[in-house]
Symmetry: C2
Subunit: 765 residues, 2 copies
Amino acid sequence: MSNLGYITDEKWGLKEESFNSKWLRKYESIMSQGNGYFGLRASTEEAYVSEKRGMFLAGLFNKFDDNEVSELVNLPDMIEVHININGETLDLNKGQTKNYQRELDLKTGELLRVFEWIYKELHVKFEFKRIVSFDLKHILAQQIRIENLGQQSFELEIISGINGQITNTGTQHLSEGPKQMIEGKVLQMTSETTSSQQTLVQSTVHQFDKNGEAYDPKARVEMERRKIQNKYWMALAATEYLTIEKISAVHSTRDFDSVGVRSIHERALADLKEASALGYEKLKNQSIEAWNNKVWNNTPITIKSVDPLDQLAVIFAQYHMHVMTPGHDSRMNIGAKGLSGEGYKGHTFWDTEIFLLPYFTFSHPEIARSLIEYRHNSIEGARQKAKKNGYEGAQYPWESAWITDGETTPDFIGTDIVTGKPMKVLTGYDEIHITGDVAYGLKQYIDVTNDKQLLSDFGFEIIVETAIFWSSRLEWNNTLNRYEINDVIGPDEYTEHANNNAYTNYIAFWNMQLALKVIENIESYDEQVIQKIEALYDLKRLRDDFTSKLSKIFLQQPNSAGIIPQDDDFFEKEVIDITKYKKAENVGTIFHDYNMSQVSDLQVLKQADVMLLIYLFENEFSNDIKMDNFHYYETITTHDSSLSLSTHSSLAADLDEMKLSYELFKKATEIDMGQQMSSSDEGIHAASLGGIWQTVVYGYGGVRNLEGTLRIEPKLPDNWEQLQFSIYWQGCKLTISVTNDGFEVINHDANKEIQYLHNGEYFTV
Amino acid sequence: MSNLGYITDEKWGLKEESFNSKWLRKYESIMSQGNGYFGLRASTEEAYVSEKRGMFLAGLFNKFDDNEVSELVNLPDMIEVHININGETLDLNKGQTKNYQRELDLKTGELLRVFEWIYKELHVKFEFKRIVSFDLKHILAQQIRIENLGQQSFELEIISGINGQITNTGTQHLSEGPKQMIEGKVLQMTSETTSSQQTLVQSTVHQFDKNGEAYDPKARVEMERRKIQNKYWMALAATEYLTIEKISAVHSTRDFDSVGVRSIHERALADLKEASALGYEKLKNQSIEAWNNKVWNNTPITIKSVDPLDQLAVIFAQYHMHVMTPGHDSRMNIGAKGLSGEGYKGHTFWDTEIFLLPYFTFSHPEIARSLIEYRHNSIEGARQKAKKNGYEGAQYPWESAWITDGETTPDFIGTDIVTGKPMKVLTGYDEIHITGDVAYGLKQYIDVTNDKQLLSDFGFEIIVETAIFWSSRLEWNNTLNRYEINDVIGPDEYTEHANNNAYTNYIAFWNMQLALKVIENIESYDEQVIQKIEALYDLKRLRDDFTSKLSKIFLQQPNSAGIIPQDDDFFEKEVIDITKYKKAENVGTIFHDYNMSQVSDLQVLKQADVMLLIYLFENEFSNDIKMDNFHYYETITTHDSSLSLSTHSSLAADLDEMKLSYELFKKATEIDMGQQMSSSDEGIHAASLGGIWQTVVYGYGGVRNLEGTLRIEPKLPDNWEQLQFSIYWQGCKLTISVTNDGFEVINHDANKEIQYLHNGEYFTV
């Protein structure tokens, strides 16, 4: 029995209803906080063996040694607070815990934990509050209240500061720098990443209050290796209470504004002083205001459903998408686990363009633009990857970290337990569709925002160079007189060494076609831009090359039953009944019965592949084809990837399969928010959150960008009474309200008309 | 109230009488096991927040970055075993623990832990046994017995293997290498130190037994980053019991025998197979036999005292001295915390020569020789240190690690909390007496063993080059027409920047005098050796230099009251009453009232200084001088160093102050074995253990080497009825039995007579 509950009344949030140390990691991830600048796992103040502390600064990557790849550094911990009462350390595995409640309020971003601890002669009430400021990006604030409910006075000892003994699962990325106490109060620790040579400055200050009045307890600084802490001690009589505010700041040389003006240490101290002068309550209120302005009052999504968890799921998705996304800095992107854990080393995958970008493109175009610009900032790595593999143009890394890191997929992972040899990771070599996905995300952004400036700023380069890559990647089949793309991994990673994967070939085709269009449209740019572009590329040669190849690229076609084969050999593979794997509590249970190479020889999918093709290019396929393929592939897809369910769910809605769609939607929402208590240990599933938004807005809101045309075709699941959401379309904010009786579109911009397509007709608002 | 108890009946050992997680670190140190090749802290199989796991391979040093110094690497953990019953992790902070007992048997080296755990519906009896083989140096063996005392069957899950997520307080010294399962059973992990480039291979295998019969549970290998484990699961019905034997091996390229013959991996596998074929019981019995042969039956020490802890203390000292001492390899020496913790980074100090070497010189001359040879193997670092400081000859590092590391005292430690600047560590520069201490230890070894071969092998080089250092270090005072040694730290580290520290000047004088003697005696060596020496040194010049300087070296003389000043300014400093600091439970409490610079201006000593001078050179001082100085300095010495009490205790015995001597002895034995539950957290106090032996054998046994003459002047404390011990003197084993009625010396060598001095008369046995 899990202890995870939900708050859907007045507030929206998650709650932990009783303490159980074995599920701490789940809560650390799903209740993680952040502001896109840094992320913080929801570890408790007191330590437990089963915890996995984590704090991550977007963009702060480091490579430990030549055997490892760049990864997001797990920072020195700032939230740990040791509390000893009469010499006994607070530990909820000891004694009795009463009235326990932990809550993350998704709208305010505040994490709250309240309980009474009864141990030996002690009876103490604790209240822990915590925010990561959504307003002041460097600031983290904690408030702790300790009340003596017992009959006798006790001795209270509080040890708190900054603990740099944290590692990334044993790998230490930081060299220890100076630690100091400033002005008798502020603790400051400086560290430096061992190879990327970034300086990290962490600062913290404590403020006390006893029975409501400012208080200055006895204190002593304690320094250990990689640790600076203050120890405070005092007596707390019966009925007395103590409040501690711990305000902390994190700064690094990765900050855009770290150079010039003032040194990073001065800036850190100034920011911390400013924040601590405000105090916890004011910091919290400012942060809530920022959340409201940016998210909740800007692009709110309202769902009236029989099941309030539907509303909660989309709030949960929006919350985490903002917590994890470094929209402030285009040298950074979103990690597969956001900033909520060490999983996937903070690396960026195709998850951004295909799953997360739509939310930002439709809701926060400025963030979307920054995420796309990241691909331009990191294009040199893509060029290097193409070159290394013997191709031309830009081949985007499967895994991407800091902009200059290039491909960061590990070459090897683990070791084959039988041979003892390291196991090669193929995705970095073979999962090449990401290059097309990058172009796809960019094109969709331009369609939706009409931000043509992006094309001449840097978009042209991305589109053309990705197309150049594809052109060089094509393999001429002389027998069949066609271009093929062989030996790849498509979106379905259970099929390795696929030839002519339907999705991959199509996105390559589309990417080259897009490049051809932008080249043909070059005259619309400023003269200066044209000159710049013409200096870089031989446009005529490219146009000729793309034109001649496009018509000969092999694209998988439906068979006699109307089913598009996932790849050349797919239909030759055995079909098995995968019902039990689909029903299993954990993903990947098929590997209890088969090994990878056996799975590769079955018609079993990890995740949407042909389905994704149909989803992304809906105008290319007839409804019959969609329907037939949907049923064929849904049956053989395990959805072992967190990226899969939302695609199938949205498609099902497109196909009016509302019951199935809703079932898949529910499953998608359960990936992180559900009762499976270990699947989120290494962090939340970023892409799946984007997928939830897509099912709501694309699937049920029926919104779609059809190459620059806004389509709205809403259809609500049976459980839903109403859906209301806002999107930005070509600069205008639209609010779309859907009920079972129909829908309404409000254009908030009085000065501009917006056209949309519905049931084949155009409407204007 | 501590939970530390003592076993002094039939067996000799330490026991923990109840479980309290806050004192785990004390037990990890004092119950640590080892065999000189590697050391293992006594961490529990299940993990606790307050633990500090540690396993250390002698000589396996690494330097993390340029800000840090070489330190002994804390190795991947091999003793952790996760035990989950019906999904609940064994954790003694949860539920109820009954019949708890943990014991370290010092004679057998076996660590035993037994208890019943009652939690929810579970009632389970656990028995954990563990040895580090004293016979097979690479081998560690564990035996775990789990018995279901409850009414119902339960599901048991055991996860055990090798965990490389361990760090040295946050610093990771190892690059992750391949992990593999071999022959379906053995788990093996390879790591490499990041800068010293040593390969470490750890291997482990599990064997099961259910209700007394061989058993093969369901199993699966689980690999994480820096971790390889096997997961086993099974049901255990009421009254059933399971026995697990986990046999582990550790090998590294530091091993002398790692080169040639077979690769380290093959050797590791072969050693592990051999050991696991024997099984826990046989391995234990072999190990006990090795302990008996080498230590307990060889040089036993028997004390009949009113307080059995006196006997226990000397067994504890002998046990740990053998556990920590890498006598098998002269490229290694003893760390200040042995192999029992991260404290002092595994570095070797003067502790070896002045405090620990006497035990080995008198009991295990072959180990003593190896420890001395280490100083020759590392002499290049001493030469470099002298050169760097502008001197000649060999200036031994204050802290020493691997033979090629040279001085490894950190330049800076922590940060001045006020200025924020790193604090300079002065000992590496100013505590220069170690160079004389090295020569002293060597000379004593030759006197006691008559191993003159060592002189021509390498001893000559050490003695002459240390003297050359002193000669170059002397400062001529033109006004006073004498050589001085200014701005040093003597043994008393509470006095910095001392001029003409009595101990330092004397040991320099003595060192040069010794060099003069060995030079003058050069003709006794083989012709070949003489040629080699004469090629290295201009002996005539050295002889002239030493001769001319020796007579002019200033040595502190007693003042009118007969007190030898510790240094030039010592008597000008204020005297304060330090009774409260001497009585305090913790050391260093004087710093609650004074800072270091203030303490430096007081007549307050951390540890024996002039006392040590008198102790080491007893023939140089009259009894009156000894007595007067003893009382003067004992009053003002805090004994804040663990190196101090035994010296004062032995001296007190020399001076017939038996009551005070015994009090000091008791305090010395309490440094690790006492009820103070945090002072040993970072490891046992190696030197203090040598000091305990010295008080027993030197102080009460009255044994002393007076430049090659054996003096025996026993005197027992009031509490003692009998003392019996064995020593080696010039190749003969002597057993000395002391009672209040007199003493007896037995020479075990029928072919050789030994002369000793007693009450001014010579006797022969």
